[in-house]
Protein backbone atom coordinates (compact mmCIF):
# COMPACT_ATOMS: atom_id res chain seq x y z
CA UNK A 1 0.00 0.00 0.00
CA UNK A 2 1.08 3.54 -0.63
CA UNK A 3 -0.47 6.57 0.94
CA UNK A 4 -0.39 10.16 -0.25
CA UNK A 5 -0.89 12.74 2.48
CA UNK A 6 -1.68 16.28 1.34
CA UNK A 7 0.13 18.73 3.62
CA UNK A 8 -1.80 21.56 5.24
CA UNK A 9 0.25 24.74 5.44
CA UNK A 10 0.30 28.48 4.80
CA UNK A 11 3.24 28.49 2.33
CA UNK A 12 5.67 29.32 5.12
CA UNK A 13 5.07 26.73 7.82
CA UNK A 14 3.67 23.22 8.04
CA UNK A 15 0.49 23.04 10.10
CA UNK A 16 0.42 20.51 12.88
CA UNK A 17 -2.72 18.94 11.42
CA UNK A 18 -0.44 17.41 8.78
CA UNK A 19 1.37 15.47 11.52
CA UNK A 20 -1.98 14.18 12.78
CA UNK A 21 -2.88 13.05 9.28
CA UNK A 22 0.48 11.27 8.89
CA UNK A 23 -0.39 9.47 12.13
CA UNK A 24 -3.68 8.33 10.57
CA UNK A 25 -1.70 7.16 7.53
CA UNK A 26 0.60 5.16 9.81
CA UNK A 27 -2.46 3.51 11.33
CA UNK A 28 -3.43 2.36 7.81
CA UNK A 29 0.11 1.17 7.13
CA UNK A 30 2.31 1.37 4.02
CA UNK A 31 4.68 3.89 2.45
CA UNK A 32 3.72 7.47 3.21
CA UNK A 33 4.47 10.26 0.76
CA UNK A 34 3.54 13.86 1.51
CA UNK A 35 2.48 16.31 -1.21
CA UNK A 36 3.19 19.97 -0.50
CA UNK A 37 1.28 22.11 -2.99
CA UNK A 38 1.67 25.85 -2.67
CA UNK A 39 3.65 28.86 -3.81
CA UNK A 40 7.17 29.50 -2.52
CA UNK A 41 6.62 26.69 -0.08
CA UNK A 42 10.14 25.27 0.12
CA UNK A 43 10.32 25.70 3.89
CA UNK A 44 7.14 23.68 4.25
CA UNK A 45 8.62 20.86 2.19
CA UNK A 46 11.74 20.84 4.39
CA UNK A 47 9.59 20.64 7.51
CA UNK A 48 7.51 17.82 6.03
CA UNK A 49 10.68 15.89 5.20
CA UNK A 50 11.62 15.89 8.88
CA UNK A 51 8.32 14.44 10.05
CA UNK A 52 8.44 10.93 11.48
CA UNK A 53 7.45 8.14 9.11
CA UNK A 54 7.51 10.10 5.84
CA UNK A 55 9.05 8.26 2.89
CA UNK A 56 9.14 11.03 0.31
CA UNK A 57 8.00 14.63 -0.03
CA UNK A 58 6.60 15.79 -3.36
CA UNK A 59 6.54 19.53 -3.99
CA UNK A 60 4.25 21.31 -6.44
CA UNK A 61 5.38 24.92 -6.19
CA UNK A 62 3.37 27.20 -8.44
CA UNK A 63 1.27 30.34 -8.27
CA UNK A 64 -1.75 28.20 -9.22
CA UNK A 65 -1.63 26.60 -5.77
CA UNK A 66 -0.73 29.71 -3.77
CA UNK A 67 -4.21 30.22 -2.35
CA UNK A 68 -5.15 26.53 -2.25
CA UNK A 69 -8.03 26.99 -4.69
CA UNK A 70 -10.04 23.76 -4.73
CA UNK A 71 -10.36 23.64 -8.52
CA UNK A 72 -6.57 23.63 -9.03
CA UNK A 73 -5.66 21.44 -6.07
CA UNK A 74 -8.38 18.98 -7.07
CA UNK A 75 -6.85 18.45 -10.51
CA UNK A 76 -3.30 18.27 -9.16
CA UNK A 77 -4.08 15.76 -6.42
CA UNK A 78 -6.22 13.59 -8.70
CA UNK A 79 -3.28 13.47 -11.14
CA UNK A 80 -0.55 12.81 -8.56
CA UNK A 81 -2.72 10.58 -6.38
CA UNK A 82 -3.96 8.12 -8.96
CA UNK A 83 -0.99 5.82 -8.35
CA UNK A 84 -1.69 5.53 -4.62
CA UNK A 85 -4.01 3.28 -2.64
CA UNK A 86 -5.02 6.08 -0.26
CA UNK A 87 -5.18 9.88 -0.42
CA UNK A 88 -5.48 11.60 2.95
CA UNK A 89 -5.91 15.23 3.99
CA UNK A 90 -6.94 17.04 7.14
CA UNK A 91 -10.65 17.80 7.37
CA UNK A 92 -10.06 21.55 7.64
CA UNK A 93 -11.66 24.02 5.27
CA UNK A 94 -8.93 23.45 2.66
CA UNK A 95 -9.23 19.67 2.68
CA UNK A 96 -13.02 19.79 2.77
CA UNK A 97 -12.92 22.05 -0.26
CA UNK A 98 -10.64 20.15 -2.65
CA UNK A 99 -10.84 16.50 -1.57
CA UNK A 100 -14.37 15.80 -2.86
CA UNK A 101 -13.20 17.16 -6.23
CA UNK A 102 -10.34 14.66 -6.15
CA UNK A 103 -12.75 11.83 -5.37
CA UNK A 104 -15.16 12.87 -8.14
CA UNK A 105 -12.36 13.19 -10.70
CA UNK A 106 -11.13 9.70 -9.76
CA UNK A 107 -14.73 8.39 -9.70
CA UNK A 108 -14.43 7.11 -6.15
CA UNK A 109 -16.33 7.81 -2.95
CA UNK A 110 -14.85 9.92 -0.18
CA UNK A 111 -14.86 9.00 3.49
CA UNK A 112 -15.12 12.26 5.45
CA UNK A 113 -13.74 13.26 8.81
CA UNK A 114 -12.52 9.89 10.09
CA UNK A 115 -11.75 9.55 13.78
CA UNK A 116 -10.34 6.01 13.73
CA UNK A 117 -8.80 3.54 11.30
CA UNK A 118 -10.16 -0.01 11.60
CA UNK A 119 -8.29 -1.46 8.64
CA UNK A 120 -7.00 -0.37 5.25
CA UNK A 121 -10.54 -0.03 3.89
CA UNK A 122 -12.66 0.48 7.01
CA UNK A 123 -12.93 3.72 8.95
CA UNK A 124 -14.91 5.12 11.85
CA UNK A 125 -16.54 8.53 11.49
CA UNK A 126 -19.13 10.66 13.26
CA UNK A 127 -22.56 11.24 11.71
CA UNK A 128 -25.48 13.34 12.95
CA UNK A 129 -23.03 15.84 14.49
CA UNK A 130 -21.42 13.10 16.54
CA UNK A 131 -24.69 11.79 17.94
CA UNK A 132 -23.94 8.51 16.16
CA UNK A 133 -20.69 6.86 15.12
CA UNK A 134 -20.58 4.93 11.84
CA UNK A 135 -18.10 2.28 10.74
CA UNK A 136 -17.86 2.43 6.96
CA UNK A 137 -16.07 0.26 4.44
CA UNK A 138 -14.94 1.51 1.05
CA UNK A 139 -15.01 -0.78 -1.99
CA UNK A 140 -13.13 1.67 -4.22
CA UNK A 141 -9.61 1.03 -5.49
CA UNK A 142 -8.41 4.41 -4.22
CA UNK A 143 -9.57 5.53 -0.81
CA UNK A 144 -10.03 9.29 -0.59
CA UNK A 145 -10.22 10.15 3.10
CA UNK A 146 -10.35 13.32 5.17
CA UNK A 147 -9.09 13.02 8.72
CA UNK A 148 -10.28 14.75 11.88
CA UNK A 149 -6.85 15.89 13.12
CA UNK A 150 -7.72 15.99 16.82
CA UNK A 151 -8.64 12.30 16.74
CA UNK A 152 -5.04 11.20 16.06
CA UNK A 153 -1.95 11.93 18.15
CA UNK A 154 0.58 13.66 15.88
CA UNK A 155 3.77 11.96 14.73
CA UNK A 156 7.03 13.61 15.79
CA UNK A 157 7.85 16.76 13.82
CA UNK A 158 11.58 15.98 13.89
CA UNK A 159 13.75 12.97 13.25
CA UNK A 160 12.78 12.01 9.72
CA UNK A 161 14.89 12.60 6.63
CA UNK A 162 12.68 12.04 3.62
CA UNK A 163 13.81 12.84 0.10
CA UNK A 164 12.28 15.95 -1.44
CA UNK A 165 11.23 15.74 -5.08
CA UNK A 166 10.01 18.66 -7.19
CA UNK A 167 7.00 18.02 -9.42
CA UNK A 168 6.49 20.04 -12.56
CA UNK A 169 2.77 19.34 -12.79
CA UNK A 170 0.94 22.63 -13.18
CA UNK A 171 -2.83 22.43 -13.05
CA UNK A 172 -4.64 25.70 -13.39
CA UNK A 173 -8.30 24.96 -14.01
CA UNK A 174 -8.93 28.61 -14.89
CA UNK A 175 -12.29 28.55 -13.13
CA UNK A 176 -11.57 30.68 -10.09
CA UNK A 177 -9.41 33.53 -8.88
CA UNK A 178 -8.35 34.56 -5.42
CA UNK A 179 -9.69 38.03 -4.58
CA UNK A 180 -8.93 38.74 -0.94
CA UNK A 181 -8.48 37.27 2.48
CA UNK A 182 -9.42 38.54 5.89
CA UNK A 183 -7.86 36.37 8.53
CA UNK A 184 -8.61 37.06 12.16
CA UNK A 185 -5.51 38.65 13.63
CA UNK A 186 -4.85 36.59 16.67
CA UNK A 187 -1.82 34.98 18.19
CA UNK A 188 -4.09 32.33 19.64
CA UNK A 189 -4.44 28.99 17.90
CA UNK A 190 -7.43 28.26 15.71
CA UNK A 191 -10.45 27.04 17.60
CA UNK A 192 -11.00 23.92 15.53
CA UNK A 193 -7.45 22.62 15.91
CA UNK A 194 -6.37 24.00 19.29
CA UNK A 195 -5.04 21.61 21.92
CA UNK A 196 -6.75 23.55 24.68
CA UNK A 197 -9.99 25.53 24.41
CA UNK A 198 -11.41 27.90 27.01
CA UNK A 199 -15.07 28.73 26.32
CA UNK A 200 -17.49 31.12 27.94
CA UNK A 201 -21.26 31.05 28.07
CA UNK A 202 -24.13 33.27 29.06
CA UNK A 203 -22.71 33.32 32.59
CA UNK A 204 -19.96 35.66 31.36
CA UNK A 205 -22.64 38.41 31.38
CA UNK A 206 -20.98 40.57 28.72
CA UNK A 207 -18.28 40.66 26.08
CA UNK A 208 -15.78 42.58 28.20
CA UNK A 209 -15.65 39.75 30.70
CA UNK A 210 -14.27 37.44 28.00
CA UNK A 211 -10.94 39.23 28.57
CA UNK A 212 -10.65 37.15 31.74
CA UNK A 213 -10.86 34.00 29.64
CA UNK A 214 -8.41 35.38 27.08
CA UNK A 215 -5.82 35.93 29.80
CA UNK A 216 -6.21 32.35 31.01
CA UNK A 217 -6.13 31.09 27.43
CA UNK A 218 -2.93 32.98 26.64
CA UNK A 219 -1.20 31.43 29.64
CA UNK A 220 -1.92 27.97 28.26
CA UNK A 221 -1.65 28.68 24.54
CA UNK A 222 -5.35 27.99 24.23
CA UNK A 223 -8.08 29.13 21.85
CA UNK A 224 -11.16 30.97 23.14
CA UNK A 225 -14.63 29.75 22.26
CA UNK A 226 -18.18 30.49 23.28
CA UNK A 227 -21.55 28.86 23.58
CA UNK A 228 -24.39 29.74 21.26
CA UNK A 229 -26.09 31.56 24.15
CA UNK A 230 -23.09 33.88 24.48
CA UNK A 231 -23.04 34.47 20.72
CA UNK A 232 -26.79 35.07 20.51
CA UNK A 233 -26.52 37.51 23.42
CA UNK A 234 -23.99 39.46 21.36
CA UNK A 235 -21.06 39.01 23.78
CA UNK A 236 -18.70 37.68 21.09
CA UNK A 237 -18.68 37.19 17.30
CA UNK A 238 -20.27 34.05 15.92
CA UNK A 239 -17.05 32.56 14.55
CA UNK A 240 -16.25 31.72 18.17
CA UNK A 241 -19.28 29.48 18.54
CA UNK A 242 -18.67 25.90 19.61
CA UNK A 243 -21.56 23.51 19.04
CA UNK A 244 -23.57 21.53 16.55
CA UNK A 245 -24.15 24.54 14.33
CA UNK A 246 -20.82 26.17 15.10
CA UNK A 247 -17.35 24.65 15.32
CA UNK A 248 -16.83 21.05 16.38
CA UNK A 249 -13.81 20.84 18.66
CA UNK A 250 -12.04 17.93 20.32
CA UNK A 251 -9.06 19.37 22.20
CA UNK A 252 -7.00 17.68 24.89
CA UNK A 253 -8.53 20.04 27.42
CA UNK A 254 -11.83 21.93 27.21
CA UNK A 255 -12.66 24.42 29.94
CA UNK A 256 -16.32 25.48 29.95
CA UNK A 257 -16.90 28.62 32.00
CA UNK A 258 -20.43 29.75 32.76
CA UNK A 259 -21.85 27.33 30.20
CA UNK A 260 -24.92 25.35 31.22
CA UNK A 261 -24.36 22.58 28.67
CA UNK A 262 -27.27 22.55 26.19
CA UNK A 263 -27.33 19.52 23.82
CA UNK A 264 -26.44 21.91 21.01
CA UNK A 265 -23.19 22.81 22.78
CA UNK A 266 -22.34 19.30 23.97
CA UNK A 267 -22.52 18.04 20.37
CA UNK A 268 -19.63 20.36 19.55
CA UNK A 269 -17.24 19.53 22.37
CA UNK A 270 -18.02 16.21 24.02
CA UNK A 271 -15.19 14.45 22.16
CA UNK A 272 -12.69 16.54 24.10
CA UNK A 273 -10.25 14.41 26.07
CA UNK A 274 -10.63 16.22 29.39
CA UNK A 275 -13.54 18.54 30.16
CA UNK A 276 -13.55 21.05 32.99
CA UNK A 277 -16.74 22.88 33.97
CA UNK A 278 -16.86 25.97 36.11
CA UNK A 279 -20.42 26.98 36.94
CA UNK A 280 -22.19 28.27 40.00
CA UNK A 281 -25.27 26.14 39.32
CA UNK A 282 -24.41 22.67 40.54
CA UNK A 283 -27.40 21.24 38.63
CA UNK A 284 -26.07 22.48 35.26
CA UNK A 285 -26.00 19.63 32.70
CA UNK A 286 -22.41 20.48 31.79
CA UNK A 287 -21.33 18.73 35.00
CA UNK A 288 -22.69 15.43 33.65
CA UNK A 289 -19.99 15.39 30.97
CA UNK A 290 -17.21 17.13 32.90
CA UNK A 291 -14.24 15.19 34.20
CA UNK A 292 -13.58 17.94 36.72
CA UNK A 293 -16.37 20.16 37.95
CA UNK A 294 -15.96 23.24 40.07
CA UNK A 295 -19.13 24.73 41.55
CA UNK A 296 -18.12 28.34 41.99
CA UNK A 297 -18.79 31.90 40.92
CA UNK A 298 -16.74 32.27 37.77
CA UNK A 299 -15.86 35.86 38.61
CA UNK A 300 -13.92 34.53 41.59
CA UNK A 301 -12.75 31.25 40.10
CA UNK A 302 -11.32 32.50 36.80
CA UNK A 303 -8.91 35.07 38.34
CA UNK A 304 -7.85 32.39 40.85
CA UNK A 305 -7.30 29.98 37.96
CA UNK A 306 -5.07 32.53 36.28
CA UNK A 307 -3.00 32.91 39.46
CA UNK A 308 -2.71 29.15 40.02
CA UNK A 309 -1.72 28.55 36.41
CA UNK A 310 1.00 31.18 36.66
CA UNK A 311 2.49 29.14 39.51
CA UNK A 312 2.67 25.88 37.60
CA UNK A 313 3.24 26.90 33.98
Amino acid sequence: MSILVIAEHDNSSLKQATLNVVAAAKAIGGDIDVLVAGENCGAVAEAAAKAEGVNKVLVADNAAYGHFLGENLGELVAEVGKGYSHILAAAGTVGKDFMPRVAALLDVAQVSDIMRVESEDTFVRPIYAGNAIATVKSSDSIKVVTVRPTAFDPVAAEGGSAAVEQLDVVKDAGLSQFVSEELAKSDRPELASAGIVVSGGRGMQNGDNFKMLEQVADLMGAAVGASRAAVDAGFVPNDMQVGQTGKIVAPQLYIAVGISGAIQHLAGMSDSKVIVAINKDEEAPIFQVADYGLVADLFEAVPQLEEELKKVL
Binding site: D97, V108, N131, M220, Y292
Partner: protein
Protein backbone atom coordinates in the same frame (compact mmCIF):
# COMPACT_ATOMS: atom_id res chain seq x y z
CA UNK B 1 -30.30 33.83 -15.06
CA UNK B 2 -31.54 30.47 -13.92
CA UNK B 3 -30.61 29.20 -10.48
CA UNK B 4 -30.78 25.54 -9.48
CA UNK B 5 -31.08 24.72 -5.79
CA UNK B 6 -30.67 21.21 -4.41
CA UNK B 7 -32.46 20.34 -1.17
CA UNK B 8 -32.39 17.23 1.01
CA UNK B 9 -34.97 15.70 3.33
CA UNK B 10 -33.33 14.89 6.66
CA UNK B 11 -34.25 14.29 10.27
CA UNK B 12 -35.40 17.57 11.86
CA UNK B 13 -32.46 19.21 13.59
CA UNK B 14 -34.42 19.50 16.84
CA UNK B 15 -34.96 15.75 17.10
CA UNK B 16 -32.70 13.79 19.41
CA UNK B 17 -31.08 11.12 17.28
CA UNK B 18 -31.35 7.52 18.51
CA UNK B 19 -29.27 4.65 17.24
CA UNK B 20 -31.23 1.47 16.48
CA UNK B 21 -30.65 -1.36 18.96
CA UNK B 22 -29.34 -3.63 16.18
CA UNK B 23 -26.70 -1.01 15.24
CA UNK B 24 -27.78 -0.87 11.59
CA UNK B 25 -28.45 2.83 11.59
CA UNK B 26 -30.40 5.65 13.16
CA UNK B 27 -34.07 5.19 14.02
CA UNK B 28 -36.08 7.21 11.49
CA UNK B 29 -39.48 5.62 12.16
CA UNK B 30 -42.09 8.18 13.21
CA UNK B 31 -39.41 10.85 13.47
CA UNK B 32 -40.09 14.39 12.29
CA UNK B 33 -38.34 15.10 8.99
CA UNK B 34 -37.55 18.50 7.52
CA UNK B 35 -35.46 20.32 4.96
CA UNK B 36 -31.74 20.21 5.82
CA UNK B 37 -30.95 23.59 7.49
CA UNK B 38 -28.09 24.38 5.09
CA UNK B 39 -30.46 23.71 2.17
CA UNK B 40 -32.98 26.20 3.63
CA UNK B 41 -30.20 28.78 3.49
CA UNK B 42 -29.56 27.80 -0.15
CA UNK B 43 -33.22 28.32 -1.06
CA UNK B 44 -33.29 31.66 0.77
CA UNK B 45 -30.19 32.87 -1.09
CA UNK B 46 -31.75 31.97 -4.43
CA UNK B 47 -34.97 33.78 -3.51
CA UNK B 48 -32.99 36.87 -2.50
CA UNK B 49 -31.14 36.77 -5.83
CA UNK B 50 -34.50 36.68 -7.57
CA UNK B 51 -35.81 39.58 -5.49
CA UNK B 52 -32.73 41.59 -6.50
CA UNK B 53 -33.49 40.85 -10.14
CA UNK B 54 -30.34 38.76 -10.55
CA UNK B 55 -32.09 35.40 -10.81
CA UNK B 56 -34.96 34.99 -13.28
CA UNK B 57 -36.04 31.47 -12.42
CA UNK B 58 -35.41 29.18 -9.45
CA UNK B 59 -35.60 25.44 -10.00
CA UNK B 60 -35.46 23.27 -6.91
CA UNK B 61 -34.37 19.63 -7.08
CA UNK B 62 -34.46 16.89 -4.46
CA UNK B 63 -33.31 13.29 -4.59
CA UNK B 64 -35.04 10.78 -2.36
CA UNK B 65 -38.24 8.93 -1.53
CA UNK B 66 -41.73 10.13 -2.44
CA UNK B 67 -41.97 12.11 0.78
CA UNK B 68 -39.12 14.38 -0.41
CA UNK B 69 -41.84 16.19 -2.35
CA UNK B 70 -42.74 17.85 0.96
CA UNK B 71 -39.36 19.57 1.01
CA UNK B 72 -39.70 20.57 -2.65
CA UNK B 73 -43.12 22.07 -1.86
CA UNK B 74 -41.58 23.93 1.06
CA UNK B 75 -38.97 25.43 -1.27
CA UNK B 76 -41.71 26.34 -3.77
CA UNK B 77 -43.62 28.06 -0.95
CA UNK B 78 -40.48 30.03 -0.09
CA UNK B 79 -40.23 31.34 -3.63
CA UNK B 80 -38.81 28.70 -5.98
CA UNK B 81 -40.65 28.52 -9.32
CA UNK B 82 -40.73 24.82 -10.10
CA UNK B 83 -39.52 21.52 -8.77
CA UNK B 84 -37.78 18.38 -9.95
CA UNK B 85 -38.04 15.22 -7.90
CA UNK B 86 -35.55 12.45 -8.61
CA UNK B 87 -37.42 9.68 -6.88
CA UNK B 88 -35.74 6.66 -5.34
CA UNK B 89 -36.15 4.64 -2.17
CA UNK B 90 -32.53 3.49 -2.34
CA UNK B 91 -29.73 5.07 -0.33
CA UNK B 92 -28.01 7.73 -2.46
CA UNK B 93 -24.45 8.58 -1.45
CA UNK B 94 -22.63 11.83 -2.23
CA UNK B 95 -20.88 10.78 -5.45
CA UNK B 96 -24.08 9.33 -6.89
CA UNK B 97 -26.08 12.38 -5.77
CA UNK B 98 -23.52 14.54 -7.58
CA UNK B 99 -23.91 12.43 -10.73
CA UNK B 100 -27.70 12.76 -10.61
CA UNK B 101 -27.40 16.52 -10.11
CA UNK B 102 -24.94 16.70 -13.00
CA UNK B 103 -27.59 15.11 -15.23
CA UNK B 104 -30.13 17.68 -14.03
CA UNK B 105 -27.62 20.50 -14.64
CA UNK B 106 -27.11 19.28 -18.20
CA UNK B 107 -30.87 19.41 -18.82
CA UNK B 108 -31.54 22.71 -17.09
CA UNK B 109 -28.30 24.59 -17.82
CA UNK B 110 -28.44 26.88 -14.75
CA UNK B 111 -25.93 29.71 -14.35
CA UNK B 112 -25.66 29.09 -10.63
CA UNK B 113 -26.19 25.98 -8.53
CA UNK B 114 -26.65 26.50 -4.79
CA UNK B 115 -26.45 23.65 -2.27
CA UNK B 116 -26.04 23.37 1.48
CA UNK B 117 -22.44 22.73 2.50
CA UNK B 118 -23.47 19.48 4.18
CA UNK B 119 -26.51 17.59 5.31
CA UNK B 120 -26.92 17.15 9.02
CA UNK B 121 -27.47 13.40 8.75
CA UNK B 122 -24.39 12.05 6.98
CA UNK B 123 -22.27 15.18 7.58
CA UNK B 124 -20.21 14.40 4.47
CA UNK B 125 -19.68 17.87 3.02
CA UNK B 126 -19.00 16.48 -0.47
CA UNK B 127 -21.88 16.74 -2.93
CA UNK B 128 -21.44 20.37 -4.04
CA UNK B 129 -17.73 19.99 -4.64
CA UNK B 130 -18.23 16.70 -6.49
CA UNK B 131 -20.92 18.25 -8.68
CA UNK B 132 -18.59 21.15 -9.46
CA UNK B 133 -15.78 18.77 -10.43
CA UNK B 134 -18.03 16.57 -12.59
CA UNK B 135 -19.49 19.55 -14.45
CA UNK B 136 -16.18 21.41 -14.72
CA UNK B 137 -17.44 24.37 -12.70
CA UNK B 138 -15.72 26.49 -10.11
CA UNK B 139 -16.92 26.25 -6.53
CA UNK B 140 -17.51 28.72 -3.74
CA UNK B 141 -17.79 26.50 -0.70
CA UNK B 142 -18.95 27.50 2.81
CA UNK B 143 -20.28 30.81 1.50
CA UNK B 144 -21.10 33.71 3.78
CA UNK B 145 -21.68 36.19 0.94
CA UNK B 146 -22.60 35.75 -2.73
CA UNK B 147 -22.42 38.65 -5.20
CA UNK B 148 -23.11 38.13 -8.90
CA UNK B 149 -21.31 40.61 -11.16
CA UNK B 150 -21.60 40.17 -14.90
CA UNK B 151 -20.31 36.75 -15.88
CA UNK B 152 -18.69 36.15 -12.51
CA UNK B 153 -19.79 35.48 -8.98
CA UNK B 154 -17.78 36.65 -6.00
CA UNK B 155 -18.11 34.29 -3.06
CA UNK B 156 -16.85 35.08 0.42
CA UNK B 157 -16.00 31.81 2.12
CA UNK B 158 -15.74 30.91 5.79
CA UNK B 159 -12.30 29.34 6.11
CA UNK B 160 -10.26 28.29 9.13
CA UNK B 161 -9.14 31.49 10.78
CA UNK B 162 -11.27 33.95 8.84
CA UNK B 163 -12.79 34.78 5.47
CA UNK B 164 -11.57 34.34 1.90
CA UNK B 165 -13.15 35.79 -1.22
CA UNK B 166 -12.89 34.11 -4.60
CA UNK B 167 -14.21 35.12 -8.02
CA UNK B 168 -15.71 32.28 -10.04
CA UNK B 169 -16.61 32.14 -13.71
CA UNK B 170 -20.30 31.39 -14.26
CA UNK B 171 -21.77 28.84 -14.30
CA UNK B 172 -20.59 27.97 -10.81
CA UNK B 173 -21.49 25.99 -7.71
CA UNK B 174 -21.99 27.66 -4.32
CA UNK B 175 -22.38 25.80 -1.03
CA UNK B 176 -23.88 27.65 1.89
CA UNK B 177 -22.59 28.15 5.39
CA UNK B 178 -24.71 29.18 8.36
CA UNK B 179 -24.08 32.89 8.22
CA UNK B 180 -25.01 33.47 4.59
CA UNK B 181 -28.56 34.52 5.52
CA UNK B 182 -31.46 33.86 7.83
CA UNK B 183 -34.16 31.90 6.02
CA UNK B 184 -37.69 33.30 6.04
CA UNK B 185 -40.84 31.39 6.92
CA UNK B 186 -43.34 30.52 4.23
CA UNK B 187 -46.64 32.42 4.46
CA UNK B 188 -49.91 30.53 4.30
CA UNK B 189 -50.96 32.04 0.93
CA UNK B 190 -47.57 31.06 -0.51
CA UNK B 191 -47.93 27.53 0.85
CA UNK B 192 -51.28 27.31 -0.95
CA UNK B 193 -49.83 28.74 -4.16
CA UNK B 194 -46.90 26.30 -4.00
CA UNK B 195 -49.29 23.39 -4.39
CA UNK B 196 -50.04 24.53 -7.92
CA UNK B 197 -46.45 25.08 -9.03
CA UNK B 198 -45.08 22.50 -11.50
CA UNK B 199 -43.17 19.51 -10.13
CA UNK B 200 -41.51 17.04 -12.50
CA UNK B 201 -40.87 13.51 -11.39
CA UNK B 202 -38.09 11.28 -12.72
CA UNK B 203 -36.02 8.29 -11.67
CA UNK B 204 -32.24 7.81 -11.53
CA UNK B 205 -32.66 5.45 -14.50
CA UNK B 206 -34.35 8.25 -16.48
CA UNK B 207 -31.20 10.28 -15.91
CA UNK B 208 -28.98 7.33 -16.84
CA UNK B 209 -27.15 7.24 -13.51
CA UNK B 210 -26.13 4.11 -11.60
CA UNK B 211 -26.67 4.89 -7.92
CA UNK B 212 -25.17 1.71 -6.43
CA UNK B 213 -23.32 2.81 -3.27
CA UNK B 214 -19.54 2.50 -2.98
CA UNK B 215 -19.43 2.73 0.78
CA UNK B 216 -21.11 0.20 3.02
CA UNK B 217 -22.00 1.02 6.59
CA UNK B 218 -20.96 -1.91 8.76
CA UNK B 219 -22.45 -0.56 11.96
CA UNK B 220 -23.74 2.55 13.63
CA UNK B 221 -23.24 3.01 17.37
CA UNK B 222 -24.14 5.56 19.96
CA UNK B 223 -21.10 7.61 20.96
CA UNK B 224 -19.35 6.49 24.11
CA UNK B 225 -21.24 8.30 26.81
CA UNK B 226 -19.10 10.32 29.13
CA UNK B 227 -19.28 9.60 32.80
CA UNK B 228 -19.61 12.55 35.09
CA UNK B 229 -16.25 12.99 36.76
CA UNK B 230 -15.42 14.42 40.12
CA UNK B 231 -16.19 17.74 41.73
CA UNK B 232 -13.18 19.61 42.97
CA UNK B 233 -13.28 21.81 46.06
CA UNK B 234 -11.36 24.77 44.73
CA UNK B 235 -9.20 26.14 41.94
CA UNK B 236 -5.96 24.90 43.50
CA UNK B 237 -7.24 21.32 43.49
CA UNK B 238 -8.45 21.73 39.90
CA UNK B 239 -5.04 22.89 38.66
CA UNK B 240 -3.33 20.11 40.63
CA UNK B 241 -5.59 17.47 39.02
CA UNK B 242 -5.10 18.88 35.53
CA UNK B 243 -1.34 18.86 35.97
CA UNK B 244 -0.74 15.67 37.91
CA UNK B 245 -3.73 13.41 37.22
CA UNK B 246 -4.98 14.28 33.71
CA UNK B 247 -1.55 15.62 32.66
CA UNK B 248 -3.07 18.03 30.15
CA UNK B 249 -1.28 21.21 31.22
Amino acid sequence: MKVLVAVKRVIDYNVKVRVKPDNTGVDLANVKMAMNPFCEIAVEEAVRLKEKGVASEIVVVSIGPKASQEQIRTALALGADRGIHVETDEEVQSLEAAKLLKAVVEKEEPKLVILGKQSIDSDNNQTGQMLAALTGMGQGTFASEVVVEGDKVNVTREVDGGLMTVALNLPAVVTTDLRLNEPRYASLPNIMKAKKKPLDNMSPADLGVDIAPRLSTLKVEAPASRQAGVKVADVAELVDKLKNEAKVI
